[in-house]
Amino acid sequence: MNEKPEKLIDKKGLRLDGRKADELRPVKIEVGILPNADGSAYIEHGKNKILAAAFGPREMHPKHLSRPDRMVLRCRYHMAPFSVGERKSPAPSRREIELSKVIRESLEPAVFVEYYPRTGVDVFIEVLQADGGTRCASITAASLALADAGIPMRDIVVACAAGKVEDKVVLDLFDTEDKVGSADVPVAFMPNLNAVTLLQMDGILTPDEFEKAVSMAIDGCKKIYELQKEALKTKYMLLEAEEEVEE
């Protein structure tokens, strides 16, 4: 289980899962799949399987957290105990608390928080299976959940990582690359506003490599953005179809 692979990139420049350096993993997105949430989305990004739901705008509990001039966005990123190799305790880890914060701060620039003063919106993210890059896939899904809930937004937020594996800058690292590779740069992006809303890095990169990684990640974001739009369209087409049937 813990044997490290000898080569992460083969002679043809292909990665362990057969991808080229700048190739995304397969991404599948569905919008509006949780009946009880105001908005929701499900994403399979590689082997990552993640659910996101949005509740609101609604009254804040506790009340003293509400703000007279804006909506308050809250976010919880949480991993299912069975989502990772060794069972994870369901109590939130320090990592989950940090990620909840940076994910919230990656979504907030897209939301017109001033539209619904005194209210709150809660975004709940559950990672059902993790395979590297969960925070990016979570943002991609959470942003759709917000849109599905009808929260007014400037843009959709989409996220993707690039990184460095065996001296090569590559797109969208999966679990093994993430652990054995030498750097990971998750990026969240608003395509229409050309704005980076999440940027983190661990590992070591030269300034040039970093520049290349950011570019590559943003390109990845743009591709996933197309899938987001399609998923939203599918949902609305289904809705329209239902409405026609009802009429």
Binding site: M1, L34, P35, N36, A37, S40, K47, K49, L51, A52, A53, F55, R58, R76, H78, A80, P81, F82, S83, V84, G85, E86, R87, P90, A91, D122, F124, I125, E126, L128, Q129, A130, D131
Partner: protein, 263 residues
């Protein structure tokens, strides 16, 4: 929900039930449509997703090595945990397990444990020192009522789907080998929940009904039709007669449900 709405809904549900009908069109003793999907979480040792109407539960099983309890040195360990994650319902809040999720976990646990569903003796690696620990994590993804039956069914389906790593013991160290064997199981408990409204018993109460039922009766049955766990719930009561009636009804439904599990 305000008490007025509750009373209006109670009235409506009661009137329907008098006629043998229910809000969602089912008969009094019908389950909602049930879908079982196994192996949905490839990285877990076992998993299953159950849809019971709109109620959706995902169960993941992880297997690790650990130490046995001092009083059962030759038995593996099984623990059940349930999370009512907040995306499943506006009524669920993030935080440590409350009495509802603890009760849910313990009912699911009781059904599996008391029926000896898992052959824990086969999970012993070194007597008193090392055994396999089976973590059964119940994850409620959408709450539309009767979480107990959906969770119990998903748990058994996930266990049936669970693969154990092959291993050998060398110099007191456990060495994990290639390949898997199925988790050793000796029975497949099925859990059935009834609600009582106006002295009538209904099967598989869904969310709207749960808000108005007097009381809840949950029974788990073994492969041979014997009872292996019971839990009465809610702030109402049953007569002795209703309990025996309920037991017969639940036994029938358990047989019906068991057919959904292929093995």
């Amino acid at each position: 929900m305000s008490s007025l709405v509750t009373r209006v809904k109670l009235k409506q549900i009661e009137q329907l039930i008098e006629k043998g009908k229910r809000l969602d069109g089912r008969g009094l003793t019908d389950y909602r449509e049930i879908k079982i999907e196994q192996g949905v979480i490839e990285k877990a040792e076992g998993s299953a997703r159950v849809l019971m109407g709109k109620t959706e539960v995902l169960v993941g099983v992880k297997i690790e090595t650990g130490t046995p309890f001092p009083d059962t040195p030759d038995d593996g360990v099984m623990t059940v945990n349930a999370e009512l994650v907040p995306l499943a319902s506006p009524d669920f809040e993030p935080g440590p397990p409350d009495e509802n999720s603890i009760e849910l976990a313990r009912i699911v646990d009781r059904g599996i444990r008391e029926s000896h569903a898992i052959d824990t003796a086969k999970l012993c690696i070194t007597s008193g020192k090392k055994v396999f620990v089976v973590f059964v994590d119940v994850y409620v993804l959408n709450h539309d009522g009767n979480l107990i039956d959906a969770s119990a069914l998903a748990a058994v389906a996930a266990l049936m789907n669970t693969k154990m790593p092959n291993y050998e013991v060398k110099d007191d160290e456990v060495i994990i080998k290639q390949g898997y064997t199925p988790l050793p199981m000796t029975s497949h408990p099925i859990t059935v929940t009834l609600g009582k409204i106006n002295d009538k018993l209904i099967v598989d109460p869904w969310l709207e009904e749960e808000q108005v039922i007097d009381a809840r009766l949950t029974m788990a049955f073994n492969d041979d039709g014997n009872i292996c766990a019971i839990q009465k719930g809610c702030a109402g009561y049953f007569t002795q007669q209703q309990i025996l009636e309920g037991m017969k009804l639940a036994k029938e439904k358990a047989t019906e449900l068991r057919k959904k599990l292929k093995w």
